[in-house]
Point group: C2
Chain length 319, copies 2
């Protein structure tokens, strides 16, 4: 008997991370697979195969939690649409549950990351937390009243698609919006603003990178900024302050106890968070000005840990 | 015995509406008083006097619910700040409860209006509803999971202070923000844009009003638009579409079942709501495009009805 063991899966756009976790969220078993370039059927086959392999090693597994980078209807576990995976109206909960014979829970990857940070990370002890996972896009996760908030059918909390500039640039992926923070304050925005800054300032580190015909993306801008390049730091000032404008709106709307910022872009740490905090303080209503803005603590494992926690909660064993 | 009777008070910036309501929300007794130009002490005295008069007529009153146009910490019933009333850090729940000897609940006026529309009005049957009360400013009320959402200490749901234009005009009252919908899509915005349109179009109804040295406010623009003036209708197109931009953000974040729009500005009906619906459909994520946007149903009584309902809920008699 291994009572309380569950499988947590973080199915990303490029790779899948799967773990068997015990009731204390200790990782007992882990596997990784590439997820790029597969069809819907191949993805489902891979998930079933990896879950069954984990269950072979840990026969006591009672449930599976699955976090995916998609709009998910949590109620019936349907992946409605995804930008980086071929999942459109796929009843993924039903498919995996039928094949494995164990209960399956499915949610958006940013929601499960927020759940993980709430239970074990930077939002521990906070019943009201707003989390943004900032990478190529911006995922949102909400903990309201101690629970994951998902909206009427489970498709809400798409915080990356909050408008801060009414006539701003077109958003990404399947979003028809303009001026959403996903397009103005993401890793993609860092790259775009970094390239513009490199063209304006040929003598900067970024300018030299451009002159060498090298790609300027969020990672390059982050490295230059961490290395002290003033122009790259200026890019973080711009993008971080845009982030802070959205945090001011979220502060006024949710009155959370804490903002947690995760995803690849948080490698820049306070270079991103300081301008965001300044803008929050300048713009939010007086009682909400000083809500802490902190970095996520669980890093790349947040999705897997949160997916496992969701599976335990849906079994009635936690929360 | 009159079991289940409660007092509901809507304390507005210019007048107070008080009623004794039965458990079916039927109004048994009603009184109105002006609230303008009073000090904090005078406001409290007036509230106590009117409540006691109501209790004299209906001795079975079990609780008092109070909706006020202020940032309210619902947890301890403190009015933290208000724009149109002299209420700063006033422990109004405690003050009234001590003087009357009955349990008192206090909340923001827009929150109680949303509760009323959820229980008896345009959001009946919807467990997820977003309500905006649009007048001089914009109040917000959220019903999430069938309950009023208030934030960590009860000061949230300030939806009017959601930014849609990062470099927009300074907001009103105690808000240090820029480009909030309170300044871009309120009755105040209607007046401002109406004056600008009158200057550009001297041959319009609004232009003639300006030439006569008459004031152009939201009401004047509404009357001109309802009368068919194309320029005034253009002002509603502009302001309604800004409203729709905010609804797109709220749709993506909350995934509500319905948007309810109330307050004085809703006198314009579809002249305001149609451009808002169009913008919502153009900008929201695909699954959220067609969330209904409807007019509030309870009109000027919403605050009183909702305040009474809150008092019943806090007594454990409803919800």
């Amino acid at each position: 008997m291994n009572a309380g063991e569950v499988v947590g899966v973080d199915l990303g756009g490029t790779k899948m991370l799967l773990g068997v976790l015990d009731p204390d969220s200790k990782v007992l078993w882990e596997s990784r697979e590439a997820s790029t370039g597969q069809s819907e059927d191949e993805l489902v086959e891979m998930l079933v195969r990896e879950i069954e392999e984990a269950r072979g090693a840990h026969p006591g597994v009672e449930a599976v939690g699955l976090g995916i980078p998609a709009t998910v209807r949590h109620d019936d576990g349907v992946a409605v649409s995804a930008v980086n995976l071929p999942l459109t109206d796929v009843p993924i909960r039903k498919l995996i549950a039928e094949r494995t014979g164990v209960p399956v829970s499915v949610d958006n990857d940013a929601n499960v990351a927020a759940l993980a940070e709430h239970l074990y990370g930077a939002a521990r002890g906070a019943d009201y937390a707003v989390m943004l996972t900032i990478g190529t896009g911006i995922g949102g996760g909400l903990i309201l009243g101690g629970e994951v908030y998902r909206g009427a059918t489970g498709m809400g909390a798409e915080l990356g698609h909050t408008v801060i500039e009414i006539d701003g640039p077109a958003c990404q992926g399947n979003c028809p919006g303009h001026g959403c923070i996903e397009t103005l304050a993401s890793g993609t925005a860092l790259g775009r603003e970094g390239r513009a800054a490199a063209e304006r300032e040929p003598d900067s580190v970024l300018g030299a990178t451009l002159a060498d015909d090298e790609q300027i993306d969020g990672k390059v801008v982050t490295e230059a900024a961490l290395g002290g390049d003033a122009v790259a730091r200026g890019v973080f000032e711009l993008v971080g302050s845009r982030l802070g404008v959205a945090l001011a709106s979220f502060a006024n709307v949710f009155e959370p106890e804490v903002f947690v910022i995760g995803g690849g872009v948080i490698a820049a740490g306070d270079l991103l968070l300081e301008p965001a905090r300044r803008e929050l303080e300048a713009r939010a209503l007086p009682p909400m000005k000083r809500i802490p803005v902190v970095a996520a603590e669980l890093g790349a494992d947040a999705g897997m840990i949160g997916a496992a926690a969701m599976a335990r909660i849906d079994l009635g064993r936690e929360g």
